[in-house]
C-alpha cells in the first residue's frame, strides 16, 4: 500500500456507523423483550443472568434489570454451596465494575454493589476501598462513589485517622473539592474532640447543659492547624468557595443553647407569651404551665397560624385565674423535653398589669453565638489574616463576608462602621447577591440596635432610616410597645411581626410595604402609620381587622386610595378605626 492510502469517506463511515447502531438497537430490543418475558414467567436461571448482563453492560441504568438480577441471584443462592455462592457474587462484582466503567454515576450499579457486598459470604473490603479510590481519582466529586465509600469504610472499620489522611491527600491534589473538606469536618470531631470541661461554664444560665453540646467541637490545637490549612487554600485561590465554607465551619460550630429566653404575662389579656432561643413546636415539646403550683390545661398557639415552629408561643389562661389585681401570682413554664424551666412572678400594685422575665445576661451572647465560642484571641488572629488577604484582594467577596462575620463575633458595635462599608463593597462586587447582602446587613443592624437597648425594659424601639430590607429577630422584641420602621426599604411586615404582642404604636412610613400579614392579632395595637407605601388592595388590609384595639390608621400616599368607595369599604372592614387618613 505504498503511496496514498485509500480511506473511507466520511459519508461511508457514517453510513457504517448508522448500520452498526441499527444492528445494536435491534439486538438490544430483542434481548430486552426476552428478559422481561422470562421475568414475568418467573424464571430464575443462569440464562437470565446472561441476558441481563448483556443488556446492563451496554445500559447499566436499567433498574428493572438489576432488580430481576437480584431475584435470580437470591434464588441461585439457595441452590448452591457456600463456596459457589462466594464465586457467584465475586463474578457479580467484576461485572458491576465493568458497568461502572460504562457509567460511573449509575445509581443502579452502586446500589447493586452495596447489595452484593451484603450477600457476599466473605466481602473483600480492601478491594472495595481500592475501587473507590480509583473512581475518586478519576472523578473526585462522584458522590455515588463517596456514598458507597462511606458504607465500605463503616463496614470495614477503617480508622478515622486513615480517613483523615485520605482527605489530606485529596485536598492536597485539589483543594476545590468540597466533598473532601466536608468529610474532614465529620472526621475531626471524632478524632480531636474538644475536651468537655469538668464544670459547666458559668456563662450558661441554664442549669442543664445538653450533653451533646461539645460533640461536634474540635480541640484547639487541631483547630489551629485547620485554620492554617484553610488559609493556605484561600490565599492560594480566594475565589474558591470550598475552603471558605470549611473555614466558616471551623469558626462557628456553636449552636445556641436551647432554652426559654423569656416569659411574659399580661393580666389584662389573661395571656402568657413564651419566647424560646430557637423555633420550637410547642405541642410536641412537652410544655407545661404551672400557675401558683397548679398545672394548667392550656392551648398553645404560635404567634401566627403560618408557623408550625415558632420561637414565640402564646396561650390564654383560664378566665379569671389572674384577673384580680390584688393577687400575686407565680408562674412557671416547664420545658420537660429539655429539662429546663423559667419562672415569672406577677405582682400587685403599680406594675401589676403585666410582668416578664428575661435574661439580660445573655444580651452579649444573643446574636454572636455562631462564632463566639472561639476564644477572642483566636478570632482576632483570624481577622488579621483575613484583613491581610483583603489588602491583596480588596474585591474578594468571600474575604469581605468572612471579615464581616469575624467582626460581628468580636465586637459588633465597635465594628459597625467598617461592617457597613464592607457591605457596600460586597454589593458592588457581587451585584448578583446584593439582596442577600442587604438582608444580612439589615439583620446585623437590627441586632446592633437590640444590643444597644440599654435595658431589656426599653420598650420604644426605633429602626428608622437604616436601609433595612427585611425584619428579623422580632422574637426579641416581645415587650416593645412603640416601634419606628420609617424610611427603610421594607416590602412587607412579615408574619413574624405578630410576635410583637405588646405593640401599641407602629410607624412604618416611607417604605415599600405591600403586605401587612404580620399585623395579626396584636391585642394592644392602637395606632398604625403606613404613609407612602405600596399598599394596593383593600384585601391587603384585611389582617388589620384582627387587631381589636386599632383606632388610628394613616394610609396616605398608598395606591390603595384609588380604589372605588375606599372609605366605605374600609369602614366596613375596620369599623373600630375612627381616625383614618387616606
Amino acid at each position: 500500500q505504498h503511496g496514498r492510502l485509500k480511506i473511507k469517506s466520511t459519508a461511508q463511515q457514517e453510513e457504517e456507523k448508522r448500520k452498526e447502531r441499527e444492528k445494536k438497537l435491534k439486538a438490544f430490543v430483542s434481548a430486552r423483550d426476552a428478559v422481561l418475558k422470562k421475568r414475568s414467567a418467573g424464571e430464575h436461571d443462569e440464562e437470565a443472568l446472561q441476558l441481563t448482563q448483556q443488556l446492563l453492560s451496554s445500559n447499566p441504568d436499567f433498574a428493572t434489570l438489576w432488580n430481576y438480577r437480584r431475584e435470580v441471584l437470591l434464588h441461585l443462592e439457595t441452590l448452591r454451596e457456600k463456596d459457589e455462592v462466594q464465586k457467584l457474587y465475586e463474578s457479580e462484582l467484576h461485572f458491576i465494575e465493568a458497568c461502572l466503567k460504562v457509567n460511573p454515576k449509575s445509581y443502579g450499579c452502586w446500589h447493586h454493589r452495596s447489595w452484593v457486598n451484603t450477600r457476599l459470604p466473605q466481602p473483600d473490603w480492601t478491594r472495595e476501598l481500592g475501587l473507590c479510590d480509583r473512581c475518586l481519582s478519576l472523578d473526585e466529586r462522584n458522590f455515588h462513589c463517596w456514598d458507597y465509600r462511606r458504607v465500605v469504610v463503616k463496614e470495614s472499620g477503617v480508622s478515622a485517622e486513615q480517613e483523615l489522611q485520605f482527605t489530606d491527600r485529596l485536598i492536597g491534589s485539589n483543594f476545590s473539592n468540597y466533598s473532601s473538606w466536608h468529610y474532614r469536618s465529620t472526621l475531626l470531631p471524632q478524632l480531636h474532640p474538644q475536651p468537655v470541661p469538668d464544670s459547666a461554664p458559668n456563662t450558661s444560665p441554664s442549669p442543664t447543659t445538653s450533653p451533646q453540646f461539645h460533640s461536634h467541637r474540635v480541640c484547639e490545637e487541631q483547630l489551629l492547624k485547620e485554620y492554617e490549612l484553610a488559609h493556605n487554600a484561600f490565599f492560594t485561590d480566594p475565589n474558591d468557595q470550598s475552603a471558605w465554607f470549611y473555614y466558616r465551619w471551623l469558626l462557628g460550630r456553636a449552636e445556641r443553647e436551647e432554652m426559654i429566653s423569656c416569659v411574659y404575662v399580661s393580666r389584662e389579656g389573661q395571656r402568657v407569651s413564651v419566647a424560646f432561643s430557637k423555633p420550637v413546636h410547642a405541642q410536641s415539646e412537652g410544655l407545661m404551665l404551672v400557675l401558683d403550683g397548679q398545672p394548667q390545661q392550656v392551648e398553645w398557639r404560635s404567634a401566627h397560624p403560618r408557623f408550625r415552629h415558632s420561637p414565640v408561643w402564646l396561650c390564654d389562661l383560664p378566665p379569671g385565674s389572674i384577673s384580680d389585681i390584688s393577687n400575686e401570682h407565680n408562674l412557671t413554664i416547664h420545658w420537660t423535653e429539655k429539662h429546663t424551666h423559667r419562672d415569672c412572678a406577677l405582682y400587685t400594685g403599680e406594675r401589676s398589669a403585666e410582668s416578664w422575665c428575661r435574661d439580660s445576661a445573655t444580651d452579649q451572647e444573643l446574636f454572636r453565638s455562631e462564632l463566639s465560642v472561639e476564644k477572642s484571641s483566636v478570632l482576632q488572629a483570624e481577622l488579621q489574616s483575613c484583613n491581610q488577604l483583603l489588602d491583596l484582594e480588596p474585591q474578594n467577596k468571600w474575604c469581605l463576608l468572612t471579615i464581616i462575620l469575624l467582626m460581628r463575633a468580636l465586637d459588633p458595635l465597635g465594628h459597625e462602621k467598617e461592617t457597613l462599608a464592607h457591605f457596600q463593597t460586597l454589593k458592588e462586587v457581587d451585584p448578583m447577591r446584593s439582596s442577600y447582602y442587604s438582608d444580612l446587613c439589615s439583620k446585623f443592624l437590627i441586632e446592633n440596635t437590640i444590643l444597644k437597648m440599654e435595658y431589656a425594659e426599653v420598650r420604644v424601639f426605633s429602626l428608622s432610616n437604616k436601609n433595612l430590607t427585611t425584619l428579623c429577630h422580632l422574637d426579641q422584641l416581645l415587650f416593645v410597645t412603640h416601634i419606628n420602621l420609617s424610611s427603610n426599604q421594607l416590602l412587607r411586615l412579615p408574619p413574624q411581626f405578630a410576635m410583637l404582642q405588646c405593640l401599641e404604636v407602629l410607624e412604618a412610613d416611607d417604605n415599600a410595604i405591600e403586605s401587612l400579614e404580620g399585623l395579626y392579632h396584636l391585642p394592644k395595637l392602637e395606632e398604625v402609620s403606613l404613609r407612602n407605601n405600596q399598599i394596593c388592595k383593600l384585601s391587603d388590609l384585611e389582617s388589620l381587622a384582627s387587631c381589636t384595639k386599632l383606632t388610628r390608621l394613616d394610609l396616605r400616599g398608598n395606591p390603595v386610595h384609588r380604589t372605588a368607595n375606599i372609605e366605605s369599604e374600609l369602614s366596613q372592614l375596620l369599623p373600630l378605626v375612627t381616625d383614618l387618613l387616606l
Binding site: Q1, H2, G3, R4, L5, K6, I7, K8, Q13, G172, S173, N174, F175, H231, N232, A233, F235, T236, D237, P238, S385, Q388, L389, L392, E393
Partner: protein, 653 residues
C-alpha cells in the same frame, strides 16, 4: 563499477529508483517528522541513516549501547580515513582519554574531517558533486567523555575493565572524598550497571515535552501518539545555595508549599493568573520603560526575592537579561501547559526521547516510507541549469532519482556553508543512587533548574529520571545536565554536579557528613554537542530542493525542530496538509488495486533492470566529468571493504 552495483543490488533489496520523491538521510526528530508528513500525504520517501541505530542525535542508548557507541566512535576515529565521511564523523571523541588530558578542551577537532573532495566538475549539465553532502564534523564537535564510578571494596578487584582504569587515571577536577564502605550490598557496582545495561535508555539530548507544545500537538493531531507512552514530570525543583527545593508552580503546589508564606502564595498566584492572559492587560506591563528586563518587572510587581527566582528561573526559565514581554510569554506558555496532563507542564516519553523520532518513522513506514540503516548518500546529482538535485548516489553506488533531498546539518561541508557560526551545548549524563530530593514517591521525574551563580553564566538544566520512566534500572536515577556551553562540558557542569552529588574520586576515602547526604554518582560522562539550531537556509549554498535540518537545540522543548519540520514540509509540498490525522486501521480500504498498482518499484526483476540501465546512464554522465568518475569507484570500493560501522554489531537491537 557496474559489477559492484550489481552485487549490491542482488544483496539488498534495491531501493526504488524512479519513484522516490523525497530522500532524507538521518533519523533525527525533524527529519522523521518530515518523512512521516510526506509519506502521509502520499509521497514516496526513502529514509536513510549512516548510523546503525534510529533517531540520530535523538537516539537513546542502553548503557552497554552507550559504552559501545563511545568505543565505536573511538575506533572509527582511530582508523579514520578521509573517505568515510558518512560513517565516521558523527561524533568526534578524544581518541582515548587515558591519553588525552581532559583539560585540553578543543583537541582533535572534527573539522579535520571536511576535506578536499570538492573538485566538482562543473562543465556538464549533470554534475555529480562528489560528497556534496559531506559528513562534516559532527554535532558533538568535540566530545569528551569520562566514565567514573565509585570505588568500593568489592569492586576494587583485579578486573581490568577499561572504564575503571580510565577512571583511576582521570584527573578528576572534583575533589570529593571517596565512598564509605558502608551499605555494601545496597551499593550498585559498575558491573551491575553493565549487567543491567539493557534497562537503561540514555538520551543524547535531554528535553521534555511541553503539554501544549508543538510536539505534543503534532503527536495528537497526527495520531502518532498511539505509538508511544508518556509519563508526567512529577515536580519542578530548583537549587539555590546548594539546597534543592520544590518550585510551587501549580495551584496544588502553591497550596501545599511549606516554604511560602500565605501572602507569598497570594502574590504568586496573582502574578501567575495575570500572566495567563497578560495580553489583555497591556497597561500592567507596557509601563514607562518598554525594554524593561523581566527581572525588574518582577521586582516592581512586588514579588519577594524568593518568588522572583522561582518565576524567572524555574517557570519562565529565562535569563536575567530577558525582556518583560518575552518573559511573560514564556511564563504564559508554561502555565498553559500546566494541568493538561498533570501538575507540571511536562511529559516524558517512556523509554526515552529516542522513541519520538521512531514513532514518526513508524508512521512514515505505515504509509510506505522505506527505511535503511547504515546506508547513506555519497553524492548528489545536480542539474546545473535549474540548480536542483535530480538524483543521489548512495553509498553502494546506486543512483536514486528524487525530487527533494532533506539533509541534516552535520552532513553539510563547510564549502556549502555561508556561515559556520554555531553554538555548543554542554551535556553531562549521570547515573546516581538516589534522588536529589527524596520524597514520598521515589518514582518521580524531576526537572531541576539551577540558576547561574553569576548573571553572565548560563543556567543549567537538570532532568532526573526515575526507573519507572524506563530509562534506568530500578534503584538508580538517570540524570541529564544541559546548558549552553561557555567552555567544555566538564568545565561548565562539573561544579554543579559536585554541588548536588557526591562524586567519589579516591578509593577508600571517607566522605564527609555533608557529602554523604548527597546522592552518589555511580557513573558520569561529559560531552559537548553542536547546536546548529540558529542556522537557516541562508546559511548554506545548496541546490534549491535540498533542505537542511538543523540538529536539536539546547532548549527544553522541541518546538524548534517541529516548526522547522513543518516549514520544510511546506517548502516541499506547499499545497498539502501537514500531518493530517492518520486514519483508524478499520477505515483503510485494502482492495485489489493496492500494492501492485501503486508500487511498481517493488517488482524486483523490473527494478534491477531499471537499475542497471540507470547505472549505465549514470556511467554516461560520469564520462562527462572524468574527475569525479575516477574518484567514485575508489570510494565505493572502500565502502564495501572496510566500513567499520557496517561490521560493528549494533548494540541497540
Amino acid at each position: 563499477m557496474s559489477n559492484i552495483l550489481k552485487t549490491e543490488a542482488a544483496q539488498t533489496k534495491l531501493l526504488p529508483a524512479q519513484t522516490t520523491e523525497t530522500i532524507l538521510p538521518t533519523f533525527c526528530l525533524t527529519e522523521s517528522v518530515i518523512a512521516a508528513a510526506c509519506s502521509r500525504v502520499g509521497q514516496n520517501v526513502l529514509h536513510l541513516d549512516r548510523r546503525n541505530y534510529y533517531a540520530g542525535n535523538w537516539a537513546s542508548f542502553t548503557f552497554n549501547g552507550l559504552l559501545s557507541w563511545i568505543e565505536e566512535y573511538k575506533v572509527i576515529i582511530l582508523s579514520f580515513s578521509l573517505r568515510y565521511k558518512f560513517m565516521g564523523t558523527y561524533v568526534k571523541f578524544i581518541e582515548d582519554e587515558t591519553k588525552a588530558p581532559l583539560t585540553s578542551c578543543q583537541p582533535v577537532n572534527a573539522e579535520t574531517v571536511s576535506e578536499e573532495t570538492t573538485g566538482d566538475s562543473t562543465e556538464a549539465q549533470d554534475t555529480v558533486t562528489g560528497d556534496d553532502t559531506t559528513a562534516s564534523d559532527a554535532k558533538t564537535q568535540n566530545e569528551e567523555h569520562k566514565v567514573s564510578e565509585p570505588k568500593e571494596e568489592q569492586h576494587t578487584s583485579d578486573i581490568s575493565e577499561p572504564s575503571q582504569s580510565q577512571e583511576e587515571k582521570d584527573p578528576q577536577p572534583i575533589s570529593s572524598p571517596a565512598d564509605p564502605p558502608v551499605d555494601v550490598e545496597k551499593k550498585i557496582t559498575y558491573q551491575k550497571l553493565v549487567k543491567e545495561g539493557r534497562r537503561f535508555n540514555i538520551d543524547l539530548v535531554s528535553k521534555l515535552m511541553y503539554s501544549r507544545g508543538a510536539l505534543v500537538d503534532l503527536l495528537i493531531k497526527s495520531n502518532v501518539s498511539r505509538y508511544a507512552e508518556f509519563k508526567n514530570i512529577g515536580r519542578i525543583l530548583t537549587c539555590r545555595n546548594g539546597k534543592v527545593k520544590q518550585v510551587p508552580c501549580s495551584r496544588a503546589d502553591v497550596f501545599a508549599s511549606k516554604q511560602l508564606t500565605v501572602v507569598e502564595k497570594r502574590m504568586l498566584m496573582k502574578f501567575l493568573t495575570f500572566c495567563l492572559d497578560f495580553e489583555q492587560h497591556p497597561e500592567e506591563y507596557q509601563g514607562m520603560t518598554p525594554c524593561e528586563p523581566f527581572r525588574e518587572f518582577l521586582k516592581n510587581k512586588k514579588l519577594t526575592e524568593n518568588l522572583q527566582d522561582f518565576v524567572l528561573h524555574s517557570i519562565a526559565m529565562v535569563t536575567q537579561q530577558t525582556l518583560t514581554e518575552e518573559g511573560l510569554k514564556a511564563t504564559q506558555h508554561f502555565l498553559r501547559c500546566l494541568g493538561r496532563y498533570g501538575n507540571t507542564p511536562f511529559l516524558f516519553p517512556l523509554y526515552g526521547l529516542g522513541e519520538i523520532p521512531q514513532c514518526f518513522c513508524r508512521m512514515c513506514a505505515v504509509f510506505g516510507g522505506i527505511y535503511c540503516l547504515r546506508h547513506s548518500v555519497q553524492c548528489l546529482v545536480v542539474d546545473k541549469a535549474s540548480n536542483k538535485v535530480k538524483a543521489v548516489i548512495d553509498t553502494r553506488g546506486q543512483k536514486i532519482s528524487c525530487s527533494h533531498f532533506v539533509v541534516e546539518d552535520s552532513y553539510i561541508r563547510d564549502e556549502q556553508r555561508q556561515s559556520t557560526a554555531y553554538r555548543q551545548i554542554s551535556r553531562a549524563v549521570l547515573i546516581t543512587d538516589r534522588s536529589v530530593l527524596p520524597s514520598e514517591s521515589d518514582q518521580q521525574i524531576s526537572l531541576v533548574t539551577i540558576p547561574p551563580l553569576e548573571s553572565s553564566a548560563p543556567a543549567v538544566r537538570m532532568v532526573e529520571l526515575c526507573s519507572s520512566s524506563m530509562t534506568c534500572m530500578p534503584g538508580t536515577y538517570l540524570v541529564h545536565f544541559t546548558c549552553s556551553s561557555s567552555g567544555t562540558a566538564q568545565e561548565d557542569l562539573a561544579p554543579v554536579v559536585s554541588e548536588l552529588f557526591h562524586v567519589s574520586t579516591i578509593p577508600g576515602e571517607e566522605p564527609s557528613e555533608e557529602e554523604r547526604s548527597k546522592p552518589a554518582v555511580l557513573w558520569v560522562m561529559y560531552f559537548n554537542m553542536r547546536d546548529t539550531s540558529a542556522l537557516d537556509s541562508s546559511s548554506y549554498s545548496l541546490p534549491s530542493n535540498v533542505h537542511v535540518c538543523t540538529g536539536p537545540d539546547g532548549s527544553l522543548g522541541s518546538d524548534c525542530s517541529i516548526k522547522l519540520a513543518e516549514s520544510v514540509f511546506h517548502h516541499i509540498l506547499p499545497d498539502e496538509e501537514f500531518c493530517p490525522p492518520a486514519p483508524n486501521p478499520e477505515d483503510i480500504i485494502y482492495d485489489g488495486d493496492g500494492p501492485q498498482a501503486e508500487g511498481p518499484g517493488f517488482d524486483e526483476s523490473a527494478n534491477t533492470e531499471a537499475d542497471k540501465s540507470q547505472a549505465e546512464e549514470e556511467g554516461a554522465t560520469h564520462e562527462k566529468s572524468p574527475s569525479t568518475e575516477s574518484s567514485d569507484p575508489a570510494e565505493m570500493d572502500s565502502v564495501t571493504q572496510q566500513a567499520p560501522s557496517d561490521t560493528t554489531p549494533s548494540s541497540e537491537e
